[in-house]
């Protein structure tokens, strides 16, 4: 279906990534957000709080991130399209409800504008050190989808994709920005509403007597209902059967949790997305995402000028990881240079997929500012020798 024009600010704008993220949510049809102030993410909800009463929907600032991350789940079960926004310390608090959303298959989007950590770290300065937390942060086994924009335009475009993926697979989608992307201002083009494709909520057409809240469809995803429609359904964070009733035994655990992970794993090829530059003849591939990919691009230009055959692989969907593609590349290239604003997170994935067939080098950075292109160039030169 097409986007509702009410929330779509069609035109060319000069926006920062946080504002563009908010516009993306509105264009996607978000009509409920809850949040708690935290730098450098607050501008997203400030804009939403100003815009949504004129579009139709609501924003509430809750008492903490635990509350905001579950208020959105309550609203989702009343039929709303929901999201919350935070940064590192708040993201840590939200882990509990990323787990609840995964377990109850509640469509929702969590935005994390990453800053330097651990703990309070660098509130106003960038980091990319929440990448593994996005994958593994909540306890237990589950799969999520995480996207990583590298420009305000992508903050808009990918936010729509984030909502669509959340609805399609009925899970929490994580939107992993960083302070640089959040606060950089660039041109953002917002298309007309009829140019925006929306994945509608998978509401059931079955009558209450036949409906089972967790009976999966052919693609492993169950159909949804909302409160107040006479279905008298039950939702729990406990392991549950297809009826939604608690089922405390290993058989139901196996059935449910395997389905939760497989609905992503079996669709990985459909979900993964990446951008490649100069990859055809490359013997060295730089892997970078978010703001770091833009620094890496400068280093690649410099290396090309020196005659080094180097290209860029930029995961746009970071989770699930483009495992198959890295495997294929590792058969062809000499080395991967992984550039990230942390002391080594996604590099482990690259190393795992390369499986010793191509050398994997990390160019790390503690955050607070972006890498120097020269540091990336040095690593490229080193592995190209």
């Amino acid at each position: 279906m097409k986007a509702n024009p009410a929330g779509v600010l069609t035109g060319a704008h000069f926006l920062d990534g946080d504002q563009a993220c908010c516009e993306g949510a509105l264009a996607a049809g978000a009509n409920f957000a809850a949040g708690y102030p935290i730098t450098p993410s607050t501008e997203v909800v400030e804009r939403f709080a100003a815009r949504i009463p004129t579009v139709g929907g609501l924003f509430i600032q809750m008492e903490d991130e635990l509350a905001s991350s579950i208020a959105i789940l309550g609203a989702a079960w009343a039929g709303k399209k929901v999201f919350t926004v935070t940064s590192g310390p708040g993201f840590s608090l939200m882990m509990e409800h990323i787990g609840l959303a995964a377990m109850t298959e509640t469509p929702c989007v969590f935005v994390d504008v990453q800053r330097g950590g651990p703990s309070t770290g660098l509130p106003t300065l960038p980091g990319q050190a929440d990448m593994m937390q996005a994958r593994w942060g909540s306890h237990g086994d589950y799969e999520t989808i995480a996207l990583c924009p590298n420009s305000p335009q992508e903050c808009f475009d990918l936010m729509i994709d984030a909502f669509n993926l959340a609805e399609q697979y009925r899970l929490p989608v994580l939107f992993m920005m960083d302070e640089c992307v959040g606060h950089m201002t660039e041109k953002v083009v917002i298309p007309p509403a009829d140019g925006i494709e929306i994945f509608p909520r998978r509401f059931t057409s079955l009558p209450p007597s036949e409906y089972k809240p967790f009976k999966p469809g052919a693609d492993g995803v169950p159909e949804m209902v909302k409160a107040g429609d006479g279905y008298r359904f039950h939702i729990t964070g406990l392991t549950h059967d297809e009826q939604g009733y608690p089922a405390m035994n290993w058989r139901e655990q196996e059935k449910l949790v395997r389905r939760l992970v497989e609905k992503v794993r079996k669709n990985t090829d459909k979900i993964v997305r990446y951008e490649e530059r100069d990859i055809e003849d490359a013997e060295v591939v730089v892997v970078a995402y978010g703001i770091t990919s833009r620094v890496a691009l400068r280093a690649i230009q410099m290396a090309r000028e020196e005659g080094i055959r180097v290209g860029l692989l930029r995961p746009i969907v970071v989770w699930p990881f483009p495992e198959k593609h890295i495997r294929e590349l590792s058969e062809k290239v000499k080395a991967f240079v992984v550039v990230e604003m942390n002391y080594g997170q996604m590099v482990y994935e690259v190393e795992r997929c390369a499986a010793g067939k191509a050398r994997t080098e990390l160019v790390d950075h503690g955050g607070g500012t972006v890498h120097e292109p020269e540091d990336v160039l040095k690593a490229i030169r080193e592995v190209a020798r």
């Binding site: 789940l73 309550g74 039950h234 729990t236």
Partner: protein, 289 residues
């Protein structure tokens, strides 16, 4: 041989409100939670609400299991977070009557911050707090309601912390309806629940119940029947009592009654009024999209 006359099987009038396919429930013999559920089902009958528009939200714990036994749209959430879940649900669909049914540990310890803020905002929620003075599900640990001197597994030499006086906490945080009853007072509980259903705003009902397995036994307070006698002898009904003066001490008197019944705009109403005033014709009410 004579044939016995056919007798219609007796049907418990609250049965249609329960998920009978989930019985037997998990509660111990003598536990007071079932009594409160019975009162709740009767309150649903008496209030004549459209049950398709009633949602129940619980947190974690023994009382946290109530949501799962009611034949309503029901949500068993995370520990302490039933109130913010219910806040999202209610704001997103104001047509729903949203009940939060949970225990003292869930609502007041881990969920204490959410409790005071929802009361402050006057979110239109009906909060039923089953207070058994202890953490039951995890095996009898001290709670923020455990009376001084009572023992728990984590205060084996007696509780030395002052407990919360829940009606006072609720009133001072902004609740518009505050009542306390023991599970000896089944008719009063039902009436309070019906009143809460008819009330707009943050309504709080504390129900004092026995936990025979983990509180009574450890504290040598006899069994649930002895506790019913205690409730009968030591509870004093004082409607309109000053909530500051309704603290509960170990073995002391239990002041019951309806303490607060006032009106002020709910969060939804205040939000609507403020946005209409500020935005005028530009305001698009939620749900209009």
């Amino acid at each position: 041989m004579s044939t016995l006359p056919m007798v219609e099987p007796a049907i418990n009038p609250v049965e249609p409100f329960l998920r009978t396919d989930r019985m037997p429930h998990i509660w111990c013999p003598g536990c007071g939670i079932g009594t409160t559920v019975n009162c709740f089902a009767r309150a649903l009958v008496e209030s004549k609400l459209n049950l398709d528009k009633v949602a129940i939200v619980s947190g974690i714990g023994c009382t946290g299991r109530v949501a799962g036994y009611m034949r309503l749209d029901s949500f068993h959430t995370t520990h302490g977070r039933a109130i913010p879940f219910a806040t999202g649900l209610k704001l997103a669909n104001p047509e729903l009557s949203v009940v939060v049914y949970s225990g003292d540990g869930d609502l007041i310890a881990i969920g204490g911050n959410h409790f005071i803020h929802a009361a402050r905002r006057n979110v239109d929620l009906k909060i039923i707090c089953v207070n058994n003075f202890i953490y039951g599900m995890t095996g009898g640990q001290v709670a923020p309601t455990t009376p001084v001197g009572a023992t728990a597994t984590t205060t084996p030499y007696g509780c030395f912390e002052r407990p919360f006086n829940l009606p006072y906490l609720a009133e001072s945080s902004g609740a518009v309806y505050v009542a306390r009853w023991t599970c000896f007072h089944v008719r009063h509980i039902t009436r309070a629940m019906v009143e809460a259903f008819n009330k707009k705003g943050f309504s709080f009902i504390e129900i004092i119940t026995p936990c025979p397995t983990l509180y009574l036994r450890r504290n040598k307070l006899g069994d649930s029947l002895d506790t019913m006698r205690y409730y009968k002898q030591k509870s004093v009904i004082k409607n309109g009592a000053n909530t500051k003066e309704v603290e509960i001490a170990l073995g002391g008197e239990i002041i019951c009654g309806k303490f607060v019944d006032i009106d002020r705009p709910t969060l939804g109403q205040s939000m609507h009024m403020q946005l209409s005033k500020s935005l005028g014709a530009r305001y698009v009410a939620p749900g209009g999209r």
